[in-house]
């Protein structure tokens, strides 16, 4: 390796270790992230595209602004950020580890001058007796000390939470763990979507990214979907009853899935995401009786279906409404418009029957009297389907981050030294964080020692 090569590598290493790079990257990431919150992501709506010029569109497209957080340059920034974190930690960790594993045990005069908190006491007694007294004092008031003898002086050293110094590096590690989890998710997982009509089942879902079908390897059936509303009209709860069947065996039977309570099977999770009424899948119920007498007959009929009646005529449902007053203000409640065609053809009769007015159709004067018993609207439930094998790695990273933050921000490495000479005791202290807080503790320690 030539010297210039070495020089280059060293420069590169220093570049990646630098705090300046870290700060620049943090600010760059913050600034560029704004773009994606202003420009619509994914497929931008046509109304938006009309507001920007063709040149601008091309420019945005080329820079990946429509999928900014997955664009090559944003990913590159994240990789640089990762390398930066690793390099910084590798460079600084040995020094910190040394401060933990090889603490300064002896407070000589030179070291004493570097400490901002010191206190001198005059005390009677020879060094050995004072030493024993101080050991007992530190043990009771702070932490168990280590004693070193040097030149006839005794040096006591005690510390609290030295490992809190590692908190920063735990946070750094946690970021990398979270990134790894996200990568695992993006390579081995997917986000998909499926709509299942009530009473039907599926084993195929569609990838949200490319709309390609994905075979689940088992079957999911939607037994029922319900939506309930508050008095204000705002939605209260969306609920699907899902049954999972794997290899002919029912694994989950009518398990309720609501928002915030998904169903997971074989690493695939189903989330309640949306719903819509199925257009033509409704079932209508009627009661038909003959004017000349006889038992009423209950009929269930689907939209578009033509049904044969007892006198040979046929009926079908043309349209229906849950609230007819919108069209006919004199009437309230559900209604259906039906068409009855006499036996052997002929002019069909079209009329409306109302659920709330069962005797109304008798006035029509037909041979058959219809009353409407309401409809069952069929619903589609919309489920977000996700497989993310990396999610547990992400949670592990989050746990590390919380632990690391607690160590880094709420704990500090506090150290106390006591030097014992004949008739003289010197107390010194330092904390790597929250000096004012430690100063209070140090003053309390001094007061306690004075009382002894």
């Amino acid at each position: 390796m030539t010297t210039s090569n070495r020089g280059f590598l060293e420069t590169l290493w220093d570049f990646f270790c630098s705090l300046k790079l870290a700060i620049s990257l943090l600010i760059l990431l913050a600034a560029t992230s704004i773009i994606g919150t202003i420009i619509p992501q994914g497929t931008p709506p046509p109304e938006y595209l009309q507001t920007i010029s063709a040149g601008k569109y091309k420019f945005y497209q080329a820079l990946g602004f429509f999928d900014m957080y997955h664009s090559w340059w944003f990913i590159l920034l994240l990789y640089l950020f990762t390398v930066n974190i690793v390099a910084c930690s590798i460079k600084r960790l040995p020094r910190v580890w040394k401060a933990i594993s090889e603490p300064t045990l002896v407070m000589d005069d030179k070291f004493e001058k570097t400490l901002s908190l010191t206190h001198d006491f005059r005390m009677d007694g020879d060094a050995a007796a004072l030493r024993d007294k101080m050991v007992a004092f530190l043990k009771g008031a702070f932490a168990e000390p280590v004693v070193t003898e040097r030149d006839g002086e005794f040096h006591l050293f005690a510390q609290k939470s030295p490992y809190s110094r590692l908190g920063v590096y735990v946070v750094h590690l946690s970021i990398i763990v979270i990134f790894i989890g996200a990568l695992i998710g993006s390579f081995f997982g997917y986000k998909a979507y499926v709509e299942i009509a009530e009473g039907t089942s599926t084993s195929v879902v569609h990838n949200r990214a490319d709309m390609k079908p994905i075979d689940l390897g088992f079957t999911v059936r939607c037994d029922k979907f319900t939506v309930s509303f508050y008095d204000t009209g705002a939605p209260k709860e969306f609920k699907s009853l899902l049954t999972v069947i794997d290899g002919g065996k029912v694994v989950f039977d009518k398990r309720p899935v609501i928002v915030n309570d998904p169903l997971t099977y074989k690493g695939i999770t189903f989330y309640q995401a949306s719903y819509r009424p199925a257009e033509d899948a409704g079932l209508y119920h009627f009661t038909v009786r003959e004017r000349k007498g006889g038992a009423p007959v209950k009929i269930s009929i689907q939209q578009g279906e033509r049904k044969l009646l007892s006198d040979g005529s046929t009926m079908q449902v043309l349209e229906s409404s849950q609230e007819v007053s919108k069209f006919i203000p004199q009437f309230q409640g559900p209604a259906a418009r039906i068409e009855v065609t006499p036996k052997g053809g002929g002019a069909p009769q079209v009329f409306i029957v109302f659920q709330n007015y069962p005797e109304f159709d008798a006035q029509r004067g037909g041979d058959l009297i219809f009353s409407y018993d309401g409809s069952e609207e069929k619903m589609f439930t919309g489920l977000q389907v996700a497989k993310d094998p990396g999610v547990w790695v992400v949670w592990a990273g989050c746990f590390l981050m919380v632990a690391g933050c607690c160590m880094a921000f709420f704990m500090s490495h506090r150290r106390v030294w006591i030097r014992v000479r004949k008739g003289e005791v010197t107390l010194g202290g330092s904390a790597n964080k929250n000096q004012p807080g430690f100063q209070l503790a140090f003053d309390a320690l001094v007061d306690k020692l004075k009382q002894q």
């Binding site: 700060i23 992230s33 204000t232 705002a234 939605p235 209260k236 977000q384 996700a386």
Partner: protein
């Protein structure tokens, strides 16, 4: 009952603001203590309002802008009282209390009726996530107040106008330290808020991170404060630069809190 507590809080905060501003003009120890007492009384009334609303609604009352602004104000006052107990600097209140009062006043501009929870908000994470977020916002708000005082004080020092105002303000060192202490409280809390939000999003929306504008802006805020924390490791970034960045950070945070809800649409638009 609820409205009574609210109006009481608003009135007491108004009185506290007047008292603290009076202290700014005439910094007598007695006036400072009186101001602090008034503010503490307001804090108690505000807590009563929040608890009462929690009991009435049956869920954490941080689900719309009215409730959020009120809780933001409560958190600021709470964090400020902690700092005042520790540092005994009443004048910080002259900068923080008006903010708390204005937030409370602003919350009256939004519908205050208790609304039932929409399905996505029905989660045990609602309380953890929102309380953490607003406590962190509050810590950053106090940092913002200290940073403004820092810049004012530095302006006096530079122009060598060591008038009465200069003597009222605490030393640059103390202001810088308050700024830093607030960061070391606000940053971990913001981290916890983002993480609890990710856990919640995973169970509600099926993904722990979806680059929703609120998520993205809270990450932007996190980046800005992380940059500030790392900048402080180098000596050149303490003091003035840190104060400026704390102010920038707070504006970013205000956008995360309000701007995203008002100007950008996304999964978090609870108005």
């Amino acid at each position: 009952m609820n409205a009574l507590f609210f109006n009481m809080t608003l009135a007491i905060y108004f009185a506290a603001t007047i008292a603290y501003l009076a202290y700014l003009v005439k910094p007598r120890e007695v006036l400072g203590k009186v101001s602090c007492c008034i503010l503490s009384a307001g804090f108690v009334a505000h807590c009563a309002y929040t608890v009462d609303r929690y009991l009435e609604a049956g869920h954490t009352p941080i689900t719309n802008l009215h409730e959020s602004l009120s809780f933001f104000s409560l958190a600021i006052v709470g964090i400020y009282i902690l700092f005042e107990r520790k540092y005994r600097i009443f004048i910080l209140g002259s900068f923080v209390t008006p903010v708390a009062f204005l937030l409370m006043a602003a919350s009256t501009g939004f519908p205050s009726a208790i609304m039932p929870l929409n399905p996505a908000l029905k989660s045990k994470w609602l309380m953890v996530h929102t309380v953490m977020a607003f406590l962190s916002y509050a810590a950053f708000a106090v940092a913002f107040g200290a940073a403004i005082m820092y810049l004012i004080q530095q302006h006096f020092l530079k122009s060598k106008k060591l008038g009465p105002m200069y003597q009222k303000l605490p030393s640059l060192d103390i202001l810088d330290e308050i700024n830093y202490r607030c960061l070391t409280i606000g940053f971990p809390l913001l981290t916890f808020a983002i993480i609890s939000g990710a856990i919640w999003a995973e169970s509600a929306w099926g993904t722990y991170w979806s680059w929703d504008p609120k998520e993205t802006w809270s990450l932007i805020t996190w980046f800005v404060y992380a940059a500030l924390l790392h900048g402080r490791l180098t000596t050149g970034w303490r003091g003035k630069k840190a104060a400026i960045l704390a102010i920038v950070g707070f504006f970013v945070l205000l956008f995360t809190f309000l701007g995203v809800n008002l100007f950008l649409s996304g999964l978090h638009s609870y108005k």
